[in-house]
Amino acid sequence: MKTKLALLFFLAIIGICSAQDAKEAREFFWGAKDEFKKANTIPDKWKNESAVIIHKREHYNYHKFGKSVTYVSGIRKRIMLLDQAAVTEFSQFSYKNKFYSNRAYGYKKGTNYVGVKIIKPSGKEIEIDTDKESKEVDGEKKLAVPNLEIGDIIDYYFYSVEPFKSFFDYTFEAVETPLGDVYPTMDLKITLDTENDFFINFNTYNGAPNLKEIPTKNSGERSYELSEKDIPKNEFPRWFYPLAEMPCYKFQVIFARSGKFEKLADGFLSEKERDIKKTVSKEDIFDYYNKKFVPAGDIGDINDFLKGKTFTSEEDKIREVYYFTRHQFYTRYIEAFVVNEAKIFYPFEYYGNYPIFFNSEVQFVNYFMQFLRKNDISYDVIIATPRYDGSIDDLLIQSNVKKLIRVNTKNPVYLEYFSPYTSADQFNYNIENSKAYVLEVSKGKRITDASTVQLPSSTYQENSVKTKTELTLEDFTGFKAKKLSSYLGHLKDSEQSDRLNFYDYVYEDYKKYATKPLLDYVKNKKKNEQYSNEMKALINKMKDTQKESFEKSIEGELDFLVDDYSFKINNTGRYGKKSSFEMEEEFSIKDNLIKKAGDKYLIELGKLLTSQIEIDQKEKDRKNNIYSVYPRSYENEIILNIPVGYSVSGLEKFNKKVENETGGFTSTAEVKGNQLIVKTYKHYKNYFEPNANWNKMIDFLDAAYQFTQEKVLLKKN
């Protein structure tokens, strides 16, 4: 009896607590202090929009009791709906009522509180009973909003209370976003409440208003607010980095209970938790990383690899070591992961107790620090941030940082953390051509200072794709085509990761470094046979899928279907800037590209350039600057075998030249023997173009598009 009562009492408390939280949520957004209770009008300039956000509030609250942290986040939007598309968008909500917090420790349940009300044009308010009106489906709540019509205002909030335990430091995920939303916003308010032991990094950029501190009654409490009015909707064009130009804010909160934990924290902390950290300086970088980067690791494997080898230069040696370690500590294990995921067998027991496998940038850097130190080679550590995140001067969030090693050979070699396709001749294009920090290393092992450097750029010649397509007419209704493609630089690694599967490269690595493929470790004959069969079956299935996707890829580029498709990868190009990724494709084009003109034929040779960027009138009016991923070039050769007794004309249309400081498109056509050879070259010169240069870019983009429309006439002699 007592336990039953106790249980009931306990449940009642929980019920009361959550009811209390629900009331708190409602009061927080819609209570007496709600300034937007009666805000029911929108400005004339936005009357033709799909919807207008009258008020948007984002709230973040961090509090603790010892190790127990409670993180509250909330969002409220008050939106006027002006067309059917907006009404449909807001007619249905889904959310998780209860969810398991996966932060730090303590698999606790968090709760989401949701409130929805509708304000009719007459001013009448209808509050929806979200518990009653929603249905639960697999732990998720679905709410169909009743009585919603065009012209109504919908005012809703999500309020999430998430408790968790943190024994150590804990870094909350960063928020980095432009101020705007999908719809124009009349009023935006972002508030943050916290107390001791929480460190806040917060800054605003590109003309966004500053974060203000709001005085609080309790000295341990801190309260902040960012407000802005009249924010146009986010409508970003192609080739644009919103965070680099639009008013935006970045923030991150780190919980660290004491000095000891502050040192462990995963972010840049301000000196005193009372102060908001707005920027990260050279000194901050130094302080944070000087303890994290320490030469560490057993370089025995590298020493074995280097035994008896000679190299033409120190740079060459570094590169070869890089490719070796990319295999030894990375691609060597890929088969194992594949086999494990496909449930073929458990492979990891074959690799001994503590195989070295790099799974973080820091581990990679520390290991190479060790190698370079032991070999007396000068190096530094580079800290950089992607260009789409803005300048490194605006760095605030640690997780944005990319870490590299710069080996100070005569021509520096940059080494970055592995993927199967990384190269010792280039590094992540997002940090090319950007200002970065150099952590100077003295005596090969201590980081003693930090300075800045402009990271090198790659050129449009280095990032290139060259294709050669040869066409032979079939029956004058179609063609047989053979296409060779060769990729270098950054165009190479994006193509590799799109097209290659593990079996396309792990075996060449095993061969090159004389290491054992996974199945060689399985000594039991019967098991080996079984696993081999299953591996073969899996690879065959993957090959079928791979072929389908290659075929779809070329069909997408050409914008029509092809037949009898086959492909071959001739070189994976994974060993440096001089080795290109090469593949060849063969296919038939039926009933396409050739049109009858009486007894003559029009061949739409231009289409073989594949779909080009089409800039329409709306894009022509672009007001933003242009951000390119990297300078790049596309070289194409199209060869048409002219059937015996025929000749071609109309070649003038294929001679084009548009070149300016942003890039260009040139093409030439000439007949050599019995072949018509058309060559094109398109390139983008820079990483960035100011808006003033947009028309110059359009000039060559339009020329490239127009080229795809050109035809050549084929007639009997």
Binding site: N48, E49, S50, Q84, A85, T88, S91, Q92, K135, V137, D138, K142, A144, P146, N147, L148, E149, Y333, I334, F337, V338, A342, K343, I344, F345, Y346, F348, E349, Y351, F357, N359, N501, F502, K527, Q530, N533, E534, K536, A537, L538, N540, K541, M542, D544, D591, I594, K595, K596, A597, G598, K600, L602, I615, D616, K618, S649, Y705, Q706, Q709, L713
Partner: protein, 637 residues
């Protein structure tokens, strides 16, 4: 396969015992069987070697309901290199799954984790359909599993059809019914013609055992735009007519009158409070001059203001929502909207009735008394001796016009104690005519001119639906993009439309057009390509073996007039092309009047369907069409 990398130490905790024991791997015979099967079924990864279903019946005396026990046993084999599939079974509030298990080929239990989730239907907001499923892998060719499933239906009326075809080809299919003497059930056979289905019937002491078998059943078609499966595959519809217990006979579904009675009992459960709609009905009819105007105002108001959000859990799947609920919530499903239209029309003084109907997707009519016959509800207006059908889910439907999906289908109209069965009238393709007309001239290697497009019937309703679904700010952009076919070489300007909120009158769009890259000049000749619309060029039904169902009966007519430039003659024109088959009637013609070239196209699909046996003819024609579209007009000086 995307590779995810995580700490090896972490992985050591998750050793998966992939040990193959003897007996799990396929035998050499099984492997060669799989290889052979793959030759016959090259598009399928799995073949079901044998599948047998057993249906038995029990009586729930208390509830006076007949229970159905349905069990399936299947033997699945992988015939591709490797296969990873999901084996699943649906159930809902009227059924439950008693057993769902897998065994390896040596009868050892395969312990895959069985998931049980809500089945998320794209069109339904919330329903009670759930799905039990398991993800299984067949690591090599010839690998096989044995699957067993037992499902129980609490009420036989929800147990409707049994098909021979499956997602995968079945080499040997058997369906056995054990019908107890106390149950009068009809096993109605559909689409058996052309299939070698063997049927045996043995009467025993207390029951009759009926067994159907069919060999080498191909997998169900996996194409888009197919007619409903009740048209395509041989199947058995189970109709429980009555049962006898202790001398007393209880009627279930003997005729459609019984079906109607059950529907009527559901309607009786509704408690409509029509007072909430009174003022809206007054508002909609106060200034209407005629009866038709009153009816239209109400009907169109429901179309425009009630969103389709469907809750189909349990009885909500059959009993309409009260009209006041639908009215106040401003959302409902087809039943809710039908009921709302009925109540609002009644308030306005008209005779309106609820009406059940099966859409075109379903092959049956009301001569079959089964829940499988209908899937939709509309409202019938009884007016001056005529019946006019109103469907609230058909947005932008014009009063007096009927959507393709209900045309020619039987409707069951409530009429007090009995029901009226009446067919919805059919219209012709002409009714949905879409036209395109343009007059062009050549200026600086550009085709310049004015265009006119018209839509009516279903082509108009389809256009209005799509257009009005776009955001306010995007509509002009989308319309321009539609008219220019998203082609950078086509520029449209000065677009003028008829009222795009009007769903009754012909929809017209007038605009100016400038088309580049369609004129090629070489020496003294100009080649003109008037093919910038490319209608049906990419409509290829390659390898398709099942009928293609269009959205509606289609009639598309186009005329392009091109002024012949001064000083030029037409030396070559593309050839005329035409074909007249049952399912399609197409004409392409070029005419040279001396002043103009007139290029006419007409595409008539009078049945809104290309039957399976017409597909080859269509593909041959499509090839000729493409050749024709590739031909240029040659103008010489």
């Amino acid at each position: 396969m995307k590779i995810t990398f995580f700490s090896l130490a972490f992985l050591l905790f998750f050793a998966i015992d992939g040990n193959a024991q003897k007996g799990l791997d396929p035998t050499a015979d099984e492997i060669s069987q799989a290889k052979k099967l793959r030759e016959s079924y090259s598009k399928d990864d799995i073949a079901i070697l044998e599948s047998s279903e057993l249906i038995t019946f029990d009586l729930n005396k208390k509830a006076a309901k007949v229970i159905v026990n349905h069990s399936i046993k299947e033997h699945l084999m992988n015939i591709n290199h490797r296969a990873d599939i999901q084996k699943y079974e649906f159930y809902d509030s009227e059924s439950s799954i008693q057993n769902f298990s897998l065994k390896y080929r040596n009868d050892k239990t395969a312990s895959f984790s069985v998931k049980d989730e809500f089945y998320k239907d794209r069109d339904l907001f919330y329903n009670d359909a759930k799905v039990k499923y398991v993800t299984i892998d067949f690591p090599v060719q010839g690998y096989n599993y044995k699957y067993e499933m037992e499902k129980k239906y609490d009420d036989v009326k929800y147990f409707t059809s049994l098909f021979f075809n499956d997602e995968y080809p079945v080499l040997s299919k058997k369906i056995t019914f054990e019908i107890p003497n106390w149950l009068d059930v009809e096993l109605k056979e559909f689409n058996f013609d052309g299939f070698k289905i063997n049927k045996t019937s043995n009467t025993e002491d207390k029951k009759t055992i009926v067994t159907y078998t069919l060999e080498n059943v191909p997998a169900a078609f996996k194409e888009n735009s197919m007619p409903g499966r009740s048209y395509l595959y041989p199947h058995i519809l189970v109709i429980a007519k009555s049962f006898t217990k202790d001398g007393a006979t209880t009627t279930l579904f003997k005729s459609n009158a019984d079906l109607y009675n059950w529907y009527k009992s559901l309607i009786a459960m509704m408690k409509d409070d029509t007072t909430v709609m009174k003022s809206k009905v007054n508002e909609l009819t106060a200034n209407a001059k005629t009866d038709e105007e009153k009816i239209k105002n109400i009907y169109y108001w429901v179309q425009d203001n009630i969103r389709y959000i469907a809750f189909e859990d349990g009885i909500a799947g059959f009993k309409p929502d009260e009209s006041n609920n639908v009215f106040e919530k401003r959302y409902g499903d087809c039943k809710g909207m039908a009921n709302l239209i009925k109540q609002m029309l009644k308030l306005a003084g008209f005779d309106a009735r609820l009406t059940w109907i099966g859409t075109k997707h379903i092959a049956y009519d009301y001569s079959t008394p089964s829940l499988a016959v209908d899937n939709h509800m509309i409202c019938t207006l009884m007016y001056k001796g005529k019946k006019i059908f109103l469907d609230g889910t058909e947005k932008y439907n014009s009063f007096g016009e009927y959507a393709e999906r209900i045309q020619n289908k039987e409707a069951m109209i409530e009429d007090g104690d009995k029901c009226i069965i009446e067919k919805i009238p059919t219209t012709t393709a002409d009714f949905n005519k879409e036209t395109f007309k343009t007059t062009l001239a050549i200026e600086n290697e550009t085709l310049i001119g004015v265009c006119n497009k018209t839509y009516q019937g279903e082509s108009r309703a389809e256009f209005l639906n799509i257009y009005n679904g776009f955001e306010n700010t995007k509509r002009k952009e989308r319309l321009d993009g539609y008219l220019s076919k998203q082609n950078k070489s086509i520029a449209v300007s000065d677009v003028k439309t008829s009222d795009l909120q009007n769903r009754d009158s012909k929809l017209t769009i007038d605009y100016n057009i400038a088309i580049q890259n369609k004129i090629s000049s070489f020496d003294d000749e100009i080649y003109v390509d008037l093919e910038f619309m490319n209608e049906y060029k990419n409509f290829e039904l390659k390898d398709r073996k099942v009928a293609y169902e269009m959205g509606y009966k289609t009639n598309y007519v186009s005329q392009i007039n091109l002024k012949i430039p001064d000083g030029y003659n037409v030396t070559k024109m593309p050839t005329n092309l035409s074909i007249k088959e049952n399912d399609f009637d197409i004409n392409l013609s070029y005419e040279n009047t001396g002043k103009e070239i007139i290029y006419k196209k007409s595409f008539m699909f009078k049945n809104g369907l290309i039957k399976a046996d017409a597909i080859e003819k269509w593909n041959e024609f499509n090839k000729k069409l493409k050749e024709n579209y590739n031909q240029q007009i040659t103008l010489s000086k």
